[in-house]
């Protein structure tokens, strides 16, 4: 155990800090989880990611030949911490950076990596995830979107749902059924679909937040070149799980919880209750600190996993819990903020008198969505019990 940083790492920290202090205000974006996704927002969000990339602060650990810097994950973690500290706007290319990119680095062929990875970094191409279907949620492997091989093409027919960002994405990494006769886990392939292909219809779904954050995506005889298959035919389930592993770590990332806790703490110092700042209320203090302890535990837990990664240790049960704990913690933080605000929690985001720019009511709803997305808490608990604790399968 040694928590000191090298002088090179400290220099990086100071450099990122200064960069963020100067550049965040210029970005025209407000906060970490700003969710407005109109065209003007999209242009600004892409420009922000590109600026960060050009400064050398995006995907530092990716290999050099695909636009990364091949740095160790500690440096990436320093950058992430500074982004939290500065409450930096989130990256529009998040699903490419956090989920698809790392999967492709492990499983893609050379041509695919060279073609796709650099444009993920620069936000030139935004990716969405084609997993859930109307009949396949928690039981993802029952998916029925069909891809038939004709010559050197797949012909895709079917429907995906809850597809975040599909309305502005350039590409989709998608699970399709390529062998309907095989057992359900063995007939799935992982293919890459150009969202501009003829036959694709994207229909926005309005979330309970009022935003058009996710979509239905329909495929009607969509032609996809065979070279867009990742790894082998009918072995997509393995790749799907690799992506899910990255997705769950991203959704449960402790940096997001730290950012929310800092905001809750500031709120509790500002709001007054019975003539005193709310933070002096003994009952609220207990709750606030209980949350802080959980956030801190997850921060150290992420350091531990970083070290395990550097030591070359395979992730075990300690990594399986990230999604469950992180997303529930984020929702608990938002719930505490809602209670802290009292009747002000009833005001919508765009009401002028809303507290804290109307962040919390939106966040309170959105964070519950992430307790579901990427595998619900119930599914996470099954995974932890069956794979982590080796309890007998119920199916």
């Amino acid at each position: 155990m040694d928590l000191s940083f090298t002088s090179e790492e400290e220099q990086l920290r100071q450099k990122v800090r200064k960069f963020l202090e100067e550049e965040i205000p210029k970005s025209g974006l407000k906060s970490a989880s700003e969710g407005r996704e109109d065209k003007a927002w999209l242009a600004k969000a892409k420009a922000w990611q590109r600026k960060l990339y050009e400064a050398g602060y995006v995907a530092l650990a990716w290999p050099k030949e695909y636009g990364g810097q091949a740095m160790d994950p500690v440096k990436q973690s320093i950058v992430n911490e500074e982004m939290v500290r500065a409450n930096a706007p989130y990256l529009v290319g998040g699903s490419g950076l956090g989920m698809f990119g790392p999967t492709l680095i492990s499983w893609g062929d050379e041509e695919q990596k060279k073609r796709f990875l650099p444009k993920i970094l620069t936000a030139e191409e935004i990716w969405c995830q084609g997993y859930s279907e109307p009949g396949s949620g928690s039981d993802l492997a029952s998916l029925r979107t069909r891809a038939e091989i004709h010559g050197d093409e797949f012909i895709v027919n079917g429907q995906k749902v809850w597809t975040s960002g599909a309305q502005y994405s350039d590409w989709m990494f998608c699970l399709v059924r390529t062998d309907p006769e095989a057992p359900k886990h063995r007939g799935i392939s992982y293919i890459l679909i150009d969202m501009k292909s003829p036959g694709i219809t994207v229909r926005p779904l309005v979330q309970m937040t009022g935003d058009k954050g996710f979509n239905e995506v329909f495929f009607d005889n969509v032609h996809v070149p065979r070279k867009n298959l990742v790894a082998k035919l009918n072995e997509g389930w393995l790749i799907a799980n690799a992506t899910l592993f990255h997705e769950r770590n991203m959704l449960g990332a402790s940096t997001g919880s730290q950012q929310r806790f800092n905001r809750l703490l500031a709120l509790a110092k500002k709001i007054r209750r019975n003539g005193k700042p709310l933070i002096e209320d003994p009952v609220f203090r207990q709750r606030l600190v209980d949350l802080e302890i959980k956030v801190e535990a997850m921060r150290f837990h992420s350091y531990r996993q970083l070290t395990d990664q550097m030591r070359g240790k395979n992730p075990g049960v300690e990594a399986m819990i990230n999604k469950l704990v992180g997303t529930e913690l984020n929702h608990d933080l938002a719930t505490a903020a809602m209670e802290a605000m009292g009747d002000y929690s009833l005001l919508a985001r765009d009401e002028e008198q809303a507290l804290d720019s109307g962040y919390w009511p939106y966040e309170w709803m959105f964070s519950l969505g992430l307790v579901i997305g990427g595998g619900t808490s119930h599914i996470q608990k099954n995974i932890i019990a069956e794979r982590g604790l080796k309890m007998p399968k119920s199916r």
Binding site: E292, A297, H301, I321, G388, M391
Partner: protein
């Protein structure tokens, strides 16, 4: 940046696990529970040979001079085994108090004997009103002619019944922080020790009456109220480490039982109600393990952050421990409620850990204050 236990610490953990599985089975623990003094001398004779007693004692006093994180790893394993006897209170707390705040004379007198396992020490802070803050200490001492005269009554003193000396927190003046530790030989005139009948029989606690007890003025430890607060930090980490090991054991017992016990024609562990209960425990426990490692490391290496980290670890882990043993008893069903089944050993030990050296709400308030809230 390297966050984790070292290869040597992994080895210490593994060898402690193996040793205790052999020498400190629940059959043995129950024997110690049923004994008069609860001190398990036959086990402690073996432990002395392993060098555990001197783990954190400096080499010049015959110890191994290792870190608090090494000690935390060992205490976790003792919690896993529900190891009885005074180890935590003697080899961790009394040894730390002397190491960090003792005069040279006191260190010479006790540390080598502690390291060899030839002496037992303990620590006495709590009184009848149950507080651990300097301001709540009412035991009174005065200095006269090179002597300190102590009067008061200490409660819940672990293993005072077998201790050779007791580190007593006492007040010298009225200012809240005018307190200090004094090392008192338990055979001194005026010391009356009464074992209390306690719930957790793997730990023995006593009341200690001090009536005009006279000790040499060199028996006073340095540091005043700061020493008291530092000992709360150290004890918090120690108890949290025990809680981590105990909770891990209770979880494993419940999971193992769920694989073999069948109802409705299936192992009960195949039902989601039990799976989710077990998954919730491990989801609390693993991040808390990381928190504990940091808190133990901070005691040695990050003094500025150590008090807050220790309070966080104690609040979180002792609460998780209680909640875990509760769920673990429930997962066992009726058999878990019997004296014959072992799960109640950890169930009761978790109550001790939750309460001793400050409850979770106490430590959460401490986290708030230390954060300037």
């Amino acid at each position: 940046m390297d966050f984790g236990i070292s290869e040597e610490q992994e080895q210490l953990k593994t060898s402690a696990r193996e040793f205790l599985a052999g020498e400190c089975s629940t059959t043995f623990v129950r024997k110690a529970m049923a004994s008069e003094d609860g001190a398990a001398p036959e086990l402690y004779a073996q432990i002395a040979k392993l060098g555990w007693h001197g783990l954190i004692i400096p080499e010049k006093f015959g110890g191994a001079g290792l870190t608090m994180l090494d000690m935390a790893v060992l205490l976790e394993e003792q919690g896993y085994a529900a190891m009885p006897g005074p180890f935590l209170f003697s080899s961790m707390l009394a040894a730390s108090a002397l190491k960090e705040f003792g005069t040279d004379e006191l260190r010479q007198k006790w540390l080598p004997a502690l390291a060899e396992g030839k002496a037992i020490g303990t620590i006495a802070i709590v009184e009848e009103d149950d507080g651990i803050e300097p301001a709540s200490i009412r035991t009174r001492s005065s200095k006269s002619g090179g002597e300190i005269i102590i009067n008061g009554r200490k409660m819940f003193v672990p293993y005072a019944n077998v201790a050779d000396f007791i580190i007593v927190a006492t007040r010298f003046g009225d200012a809240p922080d005018d307190v200090a530790f004094v090392a008192v030989d338990s055979k001194s005139a005026g010391v009356e020790i009464k074992p209390l009948k306690s719930l957790d029989l793997t730990r023995r606690v006593c009341s200690v009456e001090l009536k005009d007890v006279r000790v040499k003025s060199s028996a006073e430890l340095q540091g005043g109220g700061d020493a008291l607060r530092r000992m709360i930090d150290i004890a918090s980490v120690a108890i949290a480490a025990d809680s981590l090991g105990g909770a891990q054991r209770a979880l494993e017992m419940a999971v193992e039982y769920s694989k073999v016990r069948e109802q409705f024609g299936k192992p009960i562990g195949s039902f989601q109600a039990l799976k989710h209960a077990a998954a919730e425990i491990v989801s609390e426990l693993e991040p808390a393990r990381s928190l504990l490692w940091y808190a133990a490391y901070a005691l040695d290496s990050e003094p500025k952050h150590a008090p807050r980290a220790a309070a966080m670890a104690k609040a979180r882990l002792s609460e998780i421990y209680s909640r875990t043993t509760d769920k673990a008893v429930l997962m066992h069903g009726g058999i878990g409620f019997t004296w014959e089944h072992d799960i109640h050993l950890w169930f009761k030990r978790s109550r001790f850990d939750e309460s001793y050296f400050g409850s979770p709400p106490y430590h959460r308030e401490r986290v708030a204050q230390l954060g300037g809230y």
